[in-house]
C-alpha cells in the first residue's frame, strides 16, 4: 500500500519531458519533488506564474510571489508572471499538458467530484472546474477509500460534479487505474496489494486484465 508520498512518486513517472504541469493542492503538490531531473518540465500555478521553483529560504519570502495554495514560492530562470485571464487562457486553451488534482469521488466514466459536500461549508471550486473541463490529460491523486472506508471509485458520483468524463488516470494508495469505456481498467497494484483487495475497495465497474503487475518503485 502507498502513502501520500508514494502516490506522488508514482504520479511523477507520468510527467514527461516538455510538459507544462498544473498541480492541485494536497498530494499533487508533492509530485514536484519526485520529477526526474533529466527532463524539462515547467510548473504553472493558476494565480499567474509559470516556471515555479522550490519554496524560498527563510527570510527570503516575498508576499508578492505565491502559488495558488497561497504559499510563498520562488521562480526559476525562464519564469513569467501574468494575469488571471491569461492564466486561464493557458488552461482553457489546452497549453497546459498535464493536470494533477485530488478528488472526493471519481466515476467509472471519468466524472469527478471534488468541490462540494451538500450540507457542509462549501469552499468553492477555485480553478478546478476550468482545469478538468479543459485538460486532455488529467490524473487524479487520492486515497482509494474515504475515512469511513467507502470506495471513492464509483459507478456514478453521489456528490455534485466538478466535471464530466474528463479523468484519464487515477493513482490511489492501492492501484493505478485508467478510465476506459468499460470502466476502471486496473493497470498496476500497489506493492503488497492484491487484486481482491482492490476489487473490494472499488464500487464502480472494474476491468481486471489477466496480468496486473505490481507497480515499479
Amino acid at each position: 500500500m502507498l502513502d501520500k508520498q508514494g502516490i506522488a512518486k508514482r504520479i511523477a513517472r507520468e510527467v514527461k519531458d516538455g510538459f507544462y504541469v498544473n498541480l492541485g493542492i494536497g498530494i499533487p503538490t508533492l509530485v514536484a519533488n519526485y520529477v526526474r531531473e533529466d527532463i524539462e518540465v515547467e510548473f504553472q500555478s493558476e494565480n499567474g506564474v509559470l516556471g515555479m521553483g522550490p519554496f524560498p529560504f527563510e527570510g527570503e519570502e516575498d508576499p508578492d510571489i505565491i502559488n495558488a495554495g497561497k504559499q510563498t514560492i520562488t521562480t526559476l530562470p525562464g519564469a513569467s508572471f501574468f494575469d488571471s485571464a491569461t492564466s486561464f487562457a493557458m488552461i482553457r486553451g489546452q497549453h497546459v499538458d498535464l493536470t494533477i488534482l485530488g478528488a472526493m469521488e471519481v466515476s467509472d466514466n471519468g466524472d469527478i467530484a471534488n468541490w462540494k459536500i451538500p450540507g457542509k461549508m462549501v469552499k468553492g471550486m477555485g480553478g478546478a472546474m476550468d482545469l478538468v473541463a479543459s485538460a486532455d490529460n488529467i490524473i487524479v491523486a487520492m486515497m482509494h477509500t474515504n475515512k469511513a472506508g467507502e470506495s471513492k471509485l464509483l459507478e456514478s458520483c453521489t456528490l455534485p460534479l466538478t466535471g464530466v468524463q474528463c479523468v484519464r488516470k487515477i493513482v490511489t494508495n492501492l492501484a493505478v487505474l485508467e478510465v476506459t469505456e468499460k470502466g476502471f481498467l486496473l493497470l498496476e497494484r500497489a506493492p503488497g496489494v492484491s487484486v481482491e483487495e482492490i476489487r473490494s475497495a472499488t464500487k464502480g465497474r472494474l476491468v481486471v486484465p489477466e496480468e496486473v503487475p505490481e507497480m515499479p518503485v
Binding site: 500555478s45 493558476e46 494565480n47 499567474g48 506564474v49 522550490p54 519554496f55 524560498p56 529560504f57 527563510e58 527570503e60 519570502e61 516575498d62 508576499p63 508578492d64 510571489i65 505565491i66 502559488n67 495558488a68 495554495g69 497561497k70 504559499q71 510563498t72 514560492i73 508572471f81 501574468f82 494575469d83 488571471s84 485571464a85 492564466s87 486561464f88 488552461i91 482553457r92 466524472d111 462540494k116 461549508m121 462549501v122 469552499k123 468553492g124 471550486m125 477555485g126 480553478g127 478546478a128 472546474m129 476550468d130 473541463a133 479543459s134 455534485p160 460534479l161 466538478t162 466535471g163 464530466v164 468524463q165
Partner: protein
C-alpha cells in the same frame, strides 16, 4: 495626457453607495486593494455585492467588510480560510455565488472588452451550468457565460503614473488587470505613483484608459497567508 490622480482613498471612492456591485482584485491576500478596503470600512457602505476571487481572512482583506456585515453577496471561486464568512453563509445572512476561477476572470475581461457573452467548457455538466445555455462546438460542450456588470472596480498595482498606467509585481498581478475598465469606475491604488513618462510605454501592463482614478496607497501590510520556506 489625461490626468487620473486623486489625493487619497477617500477622494478615490467618491460616489460609492450602498447596494453597489464592486470588483476587487487580488488572489487570497496577494495584490488586494488594501487602502480601498479600509476606506469601504470607514464609509460603512452596506448591501454590497463583491466580485472577488476570494473573501479574505477573518481579520484582513474582505474579511474586514464581512466583520461589519457590509457585504450582501459574494461572487468568488474560493472562499475558505474565513470563519466569519462560513458563519454568515451557513446562517443565510450572506449570499454566495461560486464561479469557476477562469470563468470569473474571463467575465471580468469580457466586461472590460465589450464582449457581452462567450462560451467556456468550465462547469459543463455541473451545477454551475444550471439555467445557462449550453452548446456544442467542434464536438465539445460549452456553457455560455455573460460579462459582469459592476459599479466600481478596485485594483492594486505596484507602480502607476499620473495617466493611470499600471505595472504589477509578481503574482500580485492576478485578477487586477482583467478588472481594470470592467466596471463603471476603476480605482487603482499603487505602491508608487510616478509622473507621466516615468514608466516605459513598452512595459505598461494596463494602459491608463482603463483606469479612472489613481492614488498612492499608504501603509501596505501585504500579509502572507501561507508562509512556506525550505531550510538552507
Amino acid at each position: 495626457m489625461i490626468r487620473k490622480t486623486v489625493a487619497n482613498a477617500q477622494e478615490a471612492l467618491e460616489g460609492i453607495e450602498d447596494d453597489m456591485t464592486l470588483m476587487l482584485g487580488g488572489f487570497g491576500l496577494c495584490g488586494i486593494p488594501e487602502n480601498a478596503i479600509a476606506e469601504l470600512v470607514r464609509r460603512n457602505v452596506t448591501g454590497l455585492t463583491c466580485i472577488s476571487n476570494n473573501a479574505g481572512v477573518d481579520d484582513f482583506g474582505l474579511g474586514l467588510l464581512l466583520q461589519k456585515r457590509q457585504i450582501r453577496k459574494m461572487i468568488s471561486s474560493y472562499v475558505g480560510e474565513n470563519d466569519e464568512f462560513e458563519r454568515q453563509m451557513l446562517s443565510g445572512e450572506l449570499e454566495v455565488e461560486l464561479t469557476p476561477q477562469g470563468t470569473l476572470a474571463e467575465k471580468c475581461r469580457a466586461a472590460q472588452a465589450g464582449i457581452p457573452a462567450f462560451f467556456t467548457p468550465a462547469g459543463f455538466g455541473t451545477e454551475v451550468a444550471e439555467g445557462k445555455e449550453t452548446r456544442e462546438f467542434e464536438g465539445k460542450m460549452y456553457v455560455m457565460e455573460k460579462a459582469y456588470q459592476a459599479d466600481f472596480a478596485f485594483v492594486k498595482a505596484w507602480k502607476g503614473d499620473e495617466a493611470g498606467n499600471l505595472i504589477f509585481r509578481g503574482t500580485a498581478r492576478n485578477f487586477n488587470p482583467c478588472m481594470c475598465g470592467a466596471a463603471q469606475i476603476t480605482v487603482a491604488e499603487v505602491e508608487e505613483l510616478v509622473p507621466a513618462g516615468a514608466l516605459p510605454p513598452n512595459e505598461i501592463h494596463v494602459p491608463g484608459i482603463f483606469v479612472r482614478r489613481i492614488f498612492q496607497g499608504v501603509n501596505y501590510e501585504k500579509r502572507i497567508e501561507q508562509r512556506t520556506v525550505r531550510s538552507k
